[in-house]
């Protein structure tokens, strides 16, 4: 008999532990509600902690705990956590995933809250806020935005005796400079043409006058889009950029940081990391993207959203509301995290890294193209690297690869509408 109770006890123990674990999460330890905040960028953590500290000071009843998941596993982890009911209360959302999450009903609609609390959504760029609305309902509030700029190494430019890139540069100037700057003996390349959709592929496609996605159709088969892709593969074929196979092992930005690449296209959100590299901090420059057939860059920004399954929605809203305001934006900008999307707070970000001409990232706003997305963006985006890979490795054939990609992407788009 005793043995049996012992057995039952042993069997029940894990169940009890599981229950208490859960209720502990929901309960307010010490009269405080603890919110979990899901993020993926480790570079933003120190700055965000300052924002959180300010929020906690204003709301003594709520504390926020950041949950960092690396980008490579952020979305798979989040999806699994959503199903298992352990997703963070508030988390980062991007353009790629918004439609999928909103249409599945796992995000808390925010329109009502925004209205009743007079949240300053209208102080954020409208094109950006629109990304986070689905069928007329707002699901997320932008916290920042980023564009792509051209970084260059002044020391390498001086050595080659070339004028620094400026706002008048065109693709031809870049090509000329890349040829001059390439020095095979020292393994220095003029450009690092990494196969990255946001940093390289999309800006070049739009710069050539092509498009990625328009009216539910793929633009990869378009002649001008192909011309944009060829801008990169040409540089690889001519040896001005390492092939993609090399950049798998040392990324473009790492090559730039170790002064093995003289130029690179980079997302503004990484400026802080460039600033943190002592080797290049004093002689790295940044300017607007060079002009192809047209002027273009890609704009994207992150938003804070609330999980529909959160049991602490009131507190979660308080936090998201705070994050949407001027104060949070200013702290974020002055901590050098990234460009805050709140109107007029960008100055603090520029000043946080005075050596870099960060204003150029904002100068590009007038011709910035929103990051393309559809309901199941990940499916057609996953086709890109496997199909374009060999062309970006110097094996040629970008035209047919891009056309195949266009056809397959159209099929994927058709499937998501069905």
């Amino acid at each position: 008999m005793r043995r049996r109770t012992l057995l039952y006890g042993a069997m029940a123990a894990p169940l009890l532990a599981a229950c208490s674990g859960q209720s502990d999460d929901g309960k307010q330890s010490g009269g405080r509600t603890t919110l979990s905040y899901g993020v993926w960028d480790v570079a933003q953590v120190p700055g965000l902690q300052k924002v959180i500290d300010a929020f906690e000071k204003e709301n003594p009843g709520i504390s926020v705990r950041m949950e960092l998941t690396p980008w490579s596993s952020y979305w798979t982890t989040l999806k699994t956590a959503m199903r298992g009911g352990t997703a963070p209360d508030v988390f980062w959302m991007n353009a790629v995933n918004l439609q999928l999450y909103a249409s599945s009903g796992v995000l808390e609609p925010l329109s009502g809250h925004i209205k009743s609390d007079a949240t300053p959504l209208d102080r954020h760029p409208e094109s950006l806020a629109k990304i986070y609305a689905y069928q007329g309902t707002q699901y997320g509030i932008p916290k920042d935005f980023d564009t792509i700029g051209l970084w260059y190494n002044k020391a390498l430019f001086d050595k080659a005796g070339i004028k620094y890139p400026d706002t008048t540069w065109t693709w031809d100037d870049v090509r000329d400079a890349a040829a001059e700057l390439t020095n095979p003996r020292e393994r220095v390349h003029g450009m690092a043409a990494e196969m990255d959709r946001q940093g390289q592929l999309y800006p070049a496609i739009h710069g050539a006058g092509g498009y990625v996605l328009k009216d539910g159709k793929s633009g990869f088969g378009d002649e001008r889009s192909i011309e944009g892709l060829r801008y990169w593969t040409d540089m690889i074929d001519r040896g001005w950029s390492p092939p993609q196979s090399a950049m798998v092992e040392s990324k473009a930005r790492n090559r730039f940081w170790s002064e093995k690449a003289a130029m690179v296209y980079e997302i503004s959100a990484f400026s802080g990391q460039y600033y943190a590299v002592p080797a290049i901090k004093d002689h790295a420059g940044v300017t607007v993207l060079p002009k192809g057939r047209e002027r273009a860059t890609i704009i994207h920004g992150l938003a804070n959203v609330i999980s529909a399954k959160s049991r602490k929605k009131a507190a979660a809203w308080e936090f998201v509301h705070f994050m949407a305001g001027r104060k949070a934006a200013e702290i974020q900008a002055s901590a050098g995290v990234t460009i805050s999307s709140y109107e007029g707070t960008q100055d603090a970000w520029f000043k946080s890294m005075p050596e870099f001409d960060l204003k150029r990232f904002v100068d590009m706003l007038e011709y910035a193209v929103p990051y393309p997305s559809s309901k199941n963006t990940a499916v057609w985006e996953n086709l890109q690297y496997p199909l374009l890979g060999s062309a970006f490795s110097g094996k040629g054939g970008i035209e047919s690869a891009a056309r195949t990609l266009g056809e397959q992407m159209d099929r994927a788009l058709k499937e998501e509408r069905a």
Binding site: K79, M82, S245, A246, E249, S250, Y385, S393
Partner: protein, 315 residues
């Protein structure tokens, strides 16, 4: 990555060696026996059999991204069979399987060397060979990626001394699949080595002594005594090895970055399954793919069992 099963030969011996248990009175003894195997049985039912049935059911459905599913009949299977990437992944998986089997002759060779009478420090060698197998695949993948690195990797460094060109081993489509296969062999040889060493230990010394008296050299002894008498162990090991190679995933996941141009040339069926199920929200099609893989494994194992009569000798 690997599951450790007792050798089939050993299991057979065990069941043969206990006829008295079957003859014993039923009731108490039997009930106790069932009780003892119950935890394993329940575990098997909950963690293997039930998911298997579920996967089979889900392979006929379409999934919502966050739960919920609708019946769509055999559409998923049609999609799987029509998809070019599936066939490519299947081809890669077979390459992994063939490369993975190379671990067996290697392990037999080393096991035969280590079983020489009077050899000292055998346990040190055994540990050295076994360590790669118990090292986490993540660590294995990361370290080998450094070794393979095209810019500062040790392998390229060594090759350069001999005047060879630097290569990007894991991102060049022509070498990537073999680079990963090599790591697979490196990390599994130790496991089979232990099995083969035990197998060789089980061969009576008398045979060797008799052969030596008849003037058989070491090579002759190896091919006429060791190899035939080891065949049941080889049979067991080859089945385990084949199944494990067909399920290759972790090394690919760790060693192949998303932007790797060789990704299509190295993707295995299981890594494709992962991509469909967890990245692209195609759980139904992924379930169909998993089920297809199970059928392939079952078929290949059946073929191996059929061929068994031709070369396996139970002493």
């Amino acid at each position: 990555m690997m599951s450790v099963f007792p050798s089939t030969a050993a299991a057979k011996k065990a069941s043969r060696g206990s006829p008295s248990a079957a003859a014993a009175p039923k009731s108490r003894g039997q009930r106790a026996a069932y009780l003892f195997i119950a935890p394993l049985g329940i575990g098997f039912a909950v963690f293997y059999f039930w998911p298997l049935l579920q996967t089979f059911y889900y392979s006929f459905t379409e999934f919502g991204a966050f739960g919920g599913h609708t019946w769509i009949g055999t559409d998923n299977y049609v999609r799987v069979l029509k998809d070019v990437t599936v066939w490519q992944a299947l081809g890669n998986t077979l390459i992994y399987c063939v490369i993975g089997l190379l671990a067996l002759p290697l392990a037999i060779f080393v096991a035969a060397l280590l079983n020489r009478r009077g050899l000292r420090g055998v346990s040190v060698y055994r540990a050295l060979y076994f360590i790669p197998f118990v090292t986490l695949p993540v660590a294995v993948g990361l370290v080998w990626n450094w070794l393979y690195n095209g810019d500062y990797g040790l392998i390229n460094e060594v090759l350069e001394w001999f005047g060879a060109d630097r290569r990007y081993w894991v991102s060049d489509p022509s070498t990537a699949v073999y680079a990963i296969g090599t790591v697979m062999v490196w990390s599994t040889t130790g496991y089979y080595l232990i099995i083969f060493m035990a197998g060789i230990k089980g061969i009576p010394q008398d045979y060797y002594e008799a052969a030596e008296l008849d003037g058989a050299g070491p090579l002759r002894r190896f091919f006429t005594i060791t190899l035939p008498l080891l065949s049941p162990t080889i049979f067991f090991a080859s089945i385990i090895c084949m199944i494990n190679s067909l399920q290759t995933f972790d090394l690919i996941y760790i060693m192949m970055a998303e932007k790797n141009p060789a990704i299509g040339d190295t993707q295995s069926v299981v890594s494709l399954f992962y991509k469909w199920a967890f990245v692209e929200n195609a759980q139904g099609a992924a379930a169909a793919l998993a089920f297809l893989l199970m059928l392939i494994i079952a078929a290949l194992t059946l073929v191996q069992f059929r061929l068994q009569k031709r070369w396996v000798h139970y002493a």
